[in-house]
Structures are given as C-alpha cells and as structure tokens.
C-alpha cells in the first residue's frame, strides 16, 4: 500500500482507497463478535429512544390511536399555537424556570460549600462520618421522602408543633396547601436529599489539588481564607464548570415525578411545571398530540440551552463537555 501511495503525490489513487476499504472490511470481519455483542444494545436504543423521537411527530398531527402515528392527519403547528396562546403556557413556563433557578442558586453552591467545609476538617474519622450520613438521604425513595414531608408538614405535624412550641408562629400553618410554600418545600427537601451526594465529585476534585501549593502559600503568609480563594477554588473550577454546564443543560427538566407526589389543585399556581402538566393532560386525560407538542417544545429548549452553554464555556473557560 505504501508503494502505491508513493507513486502519485497529487491525488489519492483508487487502488489506495480500495486498500483502505479492504483493511476496514477486514477489521470489521476480525471483530465481528464485538459487533454481535453490540446488536442488542443498539436495538435497545433504537426501540426505546429513537423510535419515541420519531413518535414525537404526533406533535404536528392530530393523533388518533386507531390510525396510528403514520396515518394520523398532519396539522402543522396547531398544537404549539394552542399551547402558546393558552393560560397555562405562562404559568408552567414560569414555574419551571423559577424552581430550576432556585435549585441552581441554592442547591448547586450548597454542594460546593459542603465539600469545602468537609475538606477543612482535620479529623479524618469525623470527616468520613459526616460524609456517610450526608449521602444517606440520596438512597431513600422519592415516595418515602414525599410521604415524610407531607406527614411532618401537616397542621399537627412535628414541624408545626415545634414552631408553635418555640413561639415562632401563633397558629399552625397548613404548608401543603399554601402556594407560597410549595417551591421552598420542593427545593429545600431536594437539597436535603442530594447535597451530600453532589458534594462527592467536588471532594474528589479537592483531593486532586497538590498539597505543596498550600505549603508554599502558608510560607508566603497566606491565611486559610486566602488559600481557599487562591488555591482551592481555582483548583476545582474545571469541575464546577463542567457540572454547571450539565445543570444548565437540564435547566428545563424539573423532577416532575416529585412534583406529582407533592402538589395538589390548591398549589398548581406555583407548583405545576411543564413535566407535571404533560403528565396530567397527556396521560391522565389522554390529550396525546397537544402534550407531545408541549414536551417537544421542552426538549428542544433544553437541547439548545445545552449546546449554547457548552459553546460559551469552550470559549470563555476552555473546558467543555465535548
């Protein structure tokens, strides 16, 4: 092959192309068992991920179950228009954005702060103890967490009793039916459940910082606070940026399964997000095409956000997902 290539400098000779193709073919044959292993995997992604992506075209159709996806009539952007003009559009978009924003503003830094505090501990046994306890809530099922929330927050639940006992409130608050409490309860319990688990990755990044940097800084007279700002934070910045990209890429995904467990018609005003709306209107009330359009709108926004943020991070911070 090398001899053939040397004969012509200007263009790739056909014989070489053929050679490359033959080598590729031989590689495929040689590794055929590996391709056979991949067949069920690729099939899975086609059937359970790509087929539903094709199925999302019902957003542009009036889906009739007896006609199937292919034969249902096209209606263009009718469902999107109906959604944008509906009262719910502003409500669920606002709730999705506000809850996501709360999670980003309070939840994301909470994990970094916990990791920094743990990192400052000198006693390794105490450190490991606190860490283990902080992961625990991550493994408790959502149903149980929401069951506990509803129980603790009921008018004669432990939280109301405690607040009454110390005199913070005069009479019990029925937290679960008051719209102004929903987001705080949702985001706060989310932080309780995930802060320890999310801090692991930052702790891993912290343990990768070269200890001699701290020694040098101490010799130069830098205190702990100074060291944290000048060494620790820059050291974990790449990790923070990657996770921030992932978080913003998922900005429009609020865990709606938890919303469904916690909300009720009294709190829809602040609780209903895109996901829970799609679930209620789509699956409970069988408005397939309309809610498929709402879901597709959500997916497209998400994907666009991810690409944009990744692009920005690549330019400004030189770290990115791809």
């Amino acid at each position: 092959m090398n001899a053939n290539a040397a004969k012509s400098n200007n263009k790739v000779p056909d014989r070489l192309k053929k050679g490359v193709r033959r080598a590729t073919f031989r590689g495929v044959i040689k590794n055929r068992s590996l391709y056979i292993m991949l067949i069920p995997v690729v099939l899975y992604f086609i059937v359970f991920h790509y087929k539903p992506m094709y199925g999302a075209i019902i957003a542009f159709k009036d889906f009739k179950p007896f006609l199937g996806i292919g034969d249902s009539p096209w209606v263009g952007f009718k469902h999107f228009q109906q959604f944008f003009e509906s009262y719910f559009f502003v409500r669920i978009l606002r709730n999705t954005i506000v809850i996501s924003l709360y999670q980003l503003i309070f939840g994301f830094p909470a994990a970094i702060i916990l990791a920094l505090l743990l990192n400052e501990l000198k006693n390794q046994i105490f450190k490991r103890f606190v860490q283990s306890i902080s992961y625990l809530p991550h493994f408790i099922s959502l149903v149980v967490v929401c069951g506990m929330l509803i129980d603790f927050l009921q008018p004669d639940g432990i939280i109301n009793r405690s607040l009454l006992a110390i005199g913070v409130i005069g009479e019990p608050i029925n937290f679960m039916i008051l719209p102004e409490w929903f987001r705080i309860i949702f985001v706060g319990s989310g932080i309780w459940q995930s802060v320890g688990w999310s801090s692991i990755i930052f702790l891993a990044a912290l343990s990768g910082i070269n200890p001699s940097l701290y020694e040098a800084a101490a010799v130069d007279g830098a205190g702990r606070w100074r060291q944290m700002l000048s060494i620790t934070l820059p050291g974990i910045m790449p990790t923070i940026i990657i996770l921030l990209i992932i978080n913003i890429g998922n900005f429009m995904v609020v865990g709606f399964d938890k919303i469904i467990l916690l909300y009720n018609s009294a709190t829809y005003e602040t609780a209903d997000v895109i996901g829970s709306f799609v679930f209620r209107r789509g699956i409970t009330e069988a408005n397939y095409s309309f809610t498929a359009a709402v879901g597709l709108f959500n997916s497209v926004i998400n994907f666009t956000l991810l690409v944009l943020v990744n692009q920005l991070a690549k330019k400004k911070a030189e770290s990115s997902l791809w």
């Binding site: 590729t24 590689g27 590794n31 068992s33 292993m37 069920p40 899975y44 992604f45 359970f48 991920h49 790509y50 539903p52 199925g55 999302a56 019902i58 505090l117 743990l118 400052e120 501990l121 000198k122 105490f126 606190v130 283990s132 306890i133 992961y135 625990l136 493994f139 408790i140 099922s141 959502l142 149903v143 149980v144 929401c146 069951g147 506990m148 603790f152 004669d156 309780w192 688990w197 692991i200 990755i201 891993a204 702990r224 990657i242 399964d257 469904i260 799609v278 679930f279 789509g282 699956i283 397939y288 809610t291 498929a292 879901g295 597709l296 959500n298 997916s299 998400n302 994907f303 991810l306």
Partner: protein, 293 residues
C-alpha cells in the same frame, strides 16, 4: 505546618465542626423520628409526645402492616423487579461497554455519539408512553424491565473503566492464545473490573427498588404493583383504612400515623441495613463517573 494557628483560624475550625454536627443531625433526624414513632403507641403519636425516644413502646403498627396481604405481594414484586431488572441492566450495559472500550473497533465513535445523544435529547414522556403501549408491554412485568434496560450514563462509566484499567496487551495476548471475545470478556475483563461491576449493580438495584412512576403509568393490574406504589397510596394519599380494622374511632388518627411510620421503616430498612457496608462503593461510583476521557 509549623505555624501557630491564629485565633481566627481556631474560631473557623470550631464553627465548622459545630456546623457539620448540626448538619449531620438534620440529615439523620427525620429518619430517626420515623423509626421511634413507628414503635410508639398511637396515643403518644396523636398527642405529639414523641420527639427523641419511643413513648409507650409497642409493635402493634408492624403487626397491622405485616397482616396486610398487599404489603407482602408488592414486596415480592419489588424483589423480582430488582433482581430481574438489575440482571438485564448488567448484561446489556456490559455488552455495550466492552466493545465500545476497544480502540480497534471500527465505527465506535459513531456508536458512542448515537448513545450519548439520547442523554441530551428525548422524544418526551408521551411518545415514550405510547411506544410502550404499542409494543404491547402494558400490564406486563416487562414494562418495568425493558424501557430502562440501559442507562447511557452507566454504560459510559463502565466503558471508561475498561479503557483505563484493562491493558490492550492483555487482550491481544489472549487473542493470540485463541480465546474468543466472549471468553476474554468473561474470564479476563470482568474479573479485573469487579469494582465497576459492584457499583453498577448497586446503582441499578437502588433505582429499581425506588422506582414508582413507570409502574404507575404502565400497570393497571394491582397484582403486578411494586412496593413503592403501595407506599404512595399509604403515605401520600393517606389510604390506611384497609389496615385499621378493629380500631376505635378515637384512635384512628394515631394508629393511622403509626402505620405510616411502620410502612416507611419496612420499605426503607433494606437500604438502611446494607448502606453502611456499601457506601464506599457508592462514592467510588461517582468518582468513576467523574473521570473524563
């Protein structure tokens, strides 16, 4: 360090320790409260007398819960979903991760892109729901086993592990000896990858144990329901009437509460019991995922 700590630093250390002790209390107390309440008597619960220790210790709530046939039925179902589901997850994830970890596999970047894309874009809930219905999986156990058969994220973690720990030379020499790919995977790669296999098993098993949404939308047949769906009825919708047989009307509130607490404990106990032994693997799993290629 040979430097004396300043007063500020000592204060910071003390403050930090106090903060983390309070934090640990907040992480644990809700669970502790549920446990002590579940073994207290109904009257103490109704009057709010329980806070740190059980009052009027008794196991009546557990008796009521264990006498309910639905608890046993859904518990059995959940165990089945955890075992069968995790097995399917592990087999398929490995079958994807191993070939894709091989640098000599032609087209592997294309296949990776094909898989990774599904992490960032999806058809949405409704098309997935209709897809499962069209496949005829409604009201079958497959509805909880197949749609989540592979987590793209876990597949990537496993592939990264294979790539970074199994030397290419080892696989080459096994091939020289005439070993098939299946044999290489089973006898060489997997035994060397037990940490990642352990982590995957735990992630998938916990996922199946805690999952409830798919069961709610795909299974009408109550005999197939997992434990979490029953929990939702008892804890979230407060339907404890079936377990309240023979309770005087004055005690209904208290007994109903203790039943909820006991059910919570029974559903969470397996995780709480194995947790101390496994938590180092859980943490390791996140670190593995953090390795960027």
């Amino acid at each position: 360090m040979t430097y004396n700590k300043s007063i500020g630093e000592r204060l910071f250390d003390a403050f930090n320790i106090v903060l983390l002790v309070v934090g640990s209390f907040l992480f644990l107390y809700p669970l502790w409260f549920v446990i002590v309440s579940s073994v207290s008597d109904a009257a103490s619960i109704a009057s709010g007398a329980v806070s740190l220790w059980p009052k009027g210790f008794n196991l009546e709530a557990y008796e009521r819960v264990f006498n309910d046939s639905r608890v046993w039925l859904t518990y059995r179902n959940t165990i089945f979903y955890v075992l069968a589901g995790t097995l399917i997850n592990l087999v398929l994830t490995t079958l994807g991760a191993y070939p894709l970890s091989r640098r000599d596999l032609y087209g592997r970047n294309g296949v990776m892109l094909f898989i990774v894309f599904t992490m960032f874009f999806s058809g949405g809930l409704i098309p997935m729901y209709l897809n499962v219905r069209d496949l005829g999986l409604f009201d079958t156990r497959w509805a909880l086993l197949l749609p989540g058969a592979i987590s793209a994220y876990n597949l990537i973690v496993m592939r990264t592990f294979f790539q970074s720990t199994i030397p290419d030379g080892l696989i080459e020499s096994a091939k020289m000896e005439g070993a098939s790919e299946y044999r290489i995977l089973w006898s060489i790669v997997l035994p060397l990858s037990m940490p990642v296999v352990a982590v995957m098993t735990l992630f998938y098993a916990v996922y199946h144990w805690n999952s409830w949404f798919d069961a709610m939308i795909y299974l009408q047949d109550r005999s197939l329901h997992p434990l979490q769906l029953l929990l939702r009825e008892i804890l979230v919708s407060s339907q404890t009437n079936d377990m309240l047989g023979g309770v005087g009307s004055g005690d209904v509130v208290g007994v109903s509460e203790t039943i909820k607490y006991a059910t919570t404990v029974i559903a969470t106990l397996p995780i709480l019991v194995i947790y101390p032994f496994l938590q180092k693997y859980f943490a390791k799993g996140v670190m593995l995922g953090g390795v960027k290629e």
